[in-house]
Symmetry: C2
Subunit: 563 residues, 2 copies
């Protein structure tokens, strides 16, 4: 059997190694357009920032090492230019020599990945305008920085790699501005959770120009002007385009393979394309989102590796199935960790799922043990069934742990209230006896039992302030004095029972506290006295984060960094 | 409704707060024998070591704060001396005044906890012999250290609190010796995994005298002699007894409640005892182990808190069920983190479960991103069904994360091979594209598909060295020269294919490499050429850890610290 693999990174490299382990006699040829195989995609931004100091760390595997260990014929700087399913051959161009040749296959695996989306804008292609996807891109970017010592950079786009690059450029001392059309960074987050990300970036001196439309780029001596709709241009020493990636599927299209979202390759759960004996894996394929059941496009390394292994299994006579992508992701943003799994609220609603949510602000570990940090957790679940749909967490220590626990719970089909039953490991340096994930379970169970009702930051403005409702802030007088929502009267939870008679029995009560724990207790007290009440989910803490983010967005410079 | 709760820590305090949230009108009285309520049990060792500097951190809740927030009548220094189920009253003694009175109840919750097991040995009770369970114990121990500046301590017993105390005493500069009858510390670990714990303690200068029987204690001026069977006594400035805890259930026994293991209180999954209207929670109750289905006794804070909440729910007309304990636990041991969930191999075997296991040595995060550390993971599963039974991890960063993911997977009933499908969050600072938990899934799936066979450190001695088998070490010549197992011949995996003809086809082949990755690849090569082969699970890395632990145990001082 002869297997040809197009693309030698992530999914392609995994497939090659697994194929060899399953079939010692197969002939395995990999064509990789770039000069590197199996390189550390996700490490590229950290090489630019100097966190990863040795370039060799990015490219631990070489064609030579792959040959020695696996007898896989890895040919770098070879581009497959056409697939001929009828003759089961591919056309290949040796980019070093220009030689063109045909290679036959019994089975073909496409792992072409995705390439940075290049908008059709004036100026795309000029000097000092970079993208970041391959080792070559990285070396070019780093070389530019070392030679030209740029002092400012504009990043167009705010996805994972973009944000990682922002951090690394900022750590190098550059003045960095992020500009993009969407009003929030990191699409896996809902706007409320993105507020914490934005605050972290602003605190670290990154300028955010969100909701702006880039109309083009223009060289300006040694600088670049970024043209922005209805505003003065931004000027910087370099620009990085990171507005997203597009499946690199021209080959597949030309070969007649069925394509899906954004031209991605349609595969079944065995990673088989619409054409016999051709498999596809990685960022180029359309997946089933395991939560929504809908088709989706997710560029993540974990799924790519799993898919490569599955394709190899099936080529070797196995029956392995890809169960879909759940979109679990995590990113370090300066001191913060931000993570998500499943779908967020906006995606759930777009998918037509009737959902609800809880917010909580637990400590990463026991409060009495030094070093604990508060995280903000949002868990989204389906109304009625309480099926878990997704979670987002922003914080510091312990964020990655909780997102993986939630990812596992979602994968296993647990409901929100079942999170309370998880027997998680506790010692003071690591957690609390009631882990944050258990706490989310308690909260969802309380909702499911009708013990409490909640409202959200987006509801605060519209609360009745005409005397038809009672608005109570149940924090201490000191907390209240330091800042409170308009129209809310202070009545500390511990004093509530003595002042019940003063609260009109016939009006709904809306309650706020700092993190929604005291307001929950206040709700329990009031509702048992026959009052209709509701409390602010996430509390003053979440509300102010959202408000401050909106205010900062308003204040953001109307004209670039030169101001 | 009037609810009386015996014990105001963990389960009792949780029950009281939940009761109030569910029933604003209930009368809730808590009797706590010690002077403190709802204190940070698990923080006590860290107060002794000065990690937690403020004593108030241990006792954040007070009877006063509980009254203000919850209108719970918390009476400290009150001991319940008898329960009268027929009259639904308890006898109470005010330890401050000596006053004795009766208190009626409609519902009673017992949360008496467990107390340090006091062996019936000569000398128990002398000065300078301490236990550690309550805030009072902690204050006494710390006061002794501050006043007398002990330079040496003997710890009898090696459970969680004991090991945490060892670390804290060592950090204070004391010479610390641990002596106990079992040959390994931390019972949730199997002996192979405990080897890493022992090595860490020895590296930090802790003396381990395992497999020794303490026969008594004797005052010796300002010092204490610890009498050891067949050996010279150990002499130290102080001794801490930490050989385990015993459910504190004299009250329950006298009241005629059904008792189980070690005198623990038998409850159903609603936390109801055998006597109507009496509930019990926490360290004093017998639980169902959720993996084995057998009765068990586990002293852990997480379950105690969950049980308190469940008892309160049921008293208030709900129907909450405790699903059993899984024994998830984690402990910091100097630089290391050690964690376990489910059952270990020895417990599984004792429970009559036919089990198998995998060992792996993954990095905590991507190797190319700085700061990653190797962890050692052992996953135990049922033969045939591949049901996950338990996991143990020793390492540094990321250990607590992986144990919680595995705990969640076990709770959800996933099989070993299903671990490969988990969609976990990856970025270089946090994980690898194939997370360690996914890797465990790949390995178990490979076993389930018959792709590889394994042997274990305990099998190495008995391998045939009479020429009837081929023993190969497939590491590099340099690694081999630095140390290898007797009788193993060096043949690097990358050279294997060129030397196939030299390997006798009719003899079984046993393979070793450093961490069992290369030996697995070698197995795949050889078995596809028709050879019967098997590789050392955990590799040379695990094998040497186990061997070194056994050697160190042999060398341990035959007579105490004074030598």
């Amino acid at each position: 059997m002869k297997v040809v693999i197009v693309g030698g990174v992530a999914g392609g490299a995994t497939a090659a190694a697994r194929l060899r382990r399953l079939d010692e006699s197969a002939e395995i040829v990999v064509f990789e357009r770039s000069g590197y195989v199996s390189y550390a995609n996700c490490g590229l931004p950290y090489y630019i920032g100097g966190i990863i100091t040795d370039r060799a760390e990015l490219t631990l595997q070489t064609p030579e090492s792959f040959w020695r260990r696996f007898r896989v014929d890895m040919r770098v700087r070879h581009e497959v230019t056409a697939i001929h399913p009828d003759t089961k051959t591919v056309d290949v161009k040796n980019l070093a020599t220009g030689e063109v040749f045909a290679e036959s296959y019994d089975k073909l695996i496409l792992s072409p990945g995705a390439r940075p989306t290049q908008p059709a804008l004036p100026g795309v292609g000029i000097d000092r305008l970079f993208t970041l996807r391959t080792v070559e891109d990285t070396l070019k970017l780093r070389e530019f920085i070392e030679q030209h010592h740029p002092r400012s950079a504009v990043l167009a786009g705010g996805g994972f790699i973009g944000i990682e690059l922002v951090e690394n450029l900022r750590e190098l001392g550059l003045d960095v501005t992020v500009v993009q059309r969407p009003k929030q960074l990191l699409n896996p987050l809902d706007a409320d959770m993105a507020a914490f990300l934005h605050a972290q970036l602003r605190e670290k001196g990154v300028k955010l120009m969100l909701g702006r439309t880039v109309e083009g780029f223009a060289a300006d001596g040694d600088r670049v002007n970024v043209l922005i709709k209805d505003e003065a241009p931004l000027t910087a020493d370099m620009v990085v385009l990171a507005i997203g990636v597009t499946p690199d599927t021209g080959l597949a299209r030309d070969a007649g393979l069925e394509l899906g979202i954004k031209g991605s390759i349609v595969v079944n759960d065995r990673m088989e394309t619409s054409v016999p004996d051709i498999y596809a894996v990685g960022d180029a394929v359309q997946v089933k989102h395991s939560v929504t059941g809908q088709d989706a496009l997710l560029s993540l390394a974990g799924p790519a590796n799993k898919q490569g292994r599955i394709a190899a299994d099936n080529i070797c006579g196995g029956d392995s199935r890809y169960l879909g992508s759940q979109g679990s992701s995590v990113i370090k943003v300066f001191d913060m960790t931000i993570a998500a799994t499943g779908v967020n609220e906006k995606t759930a609603r777009q998918a037509g799922i009737d959902c609800d949510k809880v917010f909580l602000s637990p400590m990463s570990h026991a409060g009495y043990y030094p070093g604990g940090k508060v995280m903000t957790m949002k868990v989204v679940f389906e109304k009625g069934t309480y099926r878990l749909l997704g979670a987002q967490i922003v914080g510091y220590e312990g964020v990655d742990k909780r997102i993986d626990v939630l990812a596992t719970a979602i994968h296993a089909g647990l409901t929100g209230p079942q999170l309370k039953d998880l027997d998680l490991a506790y010692a003071p340096p690591y957690s609390s006896a009631k882990d944050p994930v258990n706490m989310a379970g308690f909260m969802i169970e309380n909702l499911s039992r009708g013990l409490v009702e909640q409202f959200f930051p987006e509801d605060v403005d519209a609360l009745p302030r005409d005397g038809s409702a009672t608005l109570l802030d149940v924090r201490t007088p000191g907390e209240y004095a330091a800042g409170h929502a308009e129209g809310f009267v202070n009545l500390p939870v511990d004093d509530l029972r003595e002042h019940l008679a003063e609260i009109p029995a016939d009006k709904p009560v809306y309650l706020i506290c700092q993190s929604a724990l005291r307001s929950y207790i206040a709700c329990r007290i009031l509702s048992q006295h026959g009052l209709r009440c509701s409390h602010l989910s996430g509390g003053w803490r979440l509300y102010t984060a959202v408000m401050q983010d909106q205010a900062a967005a308003q204040e953001a410079l109307p004209c670039g960094m030169e101001k």
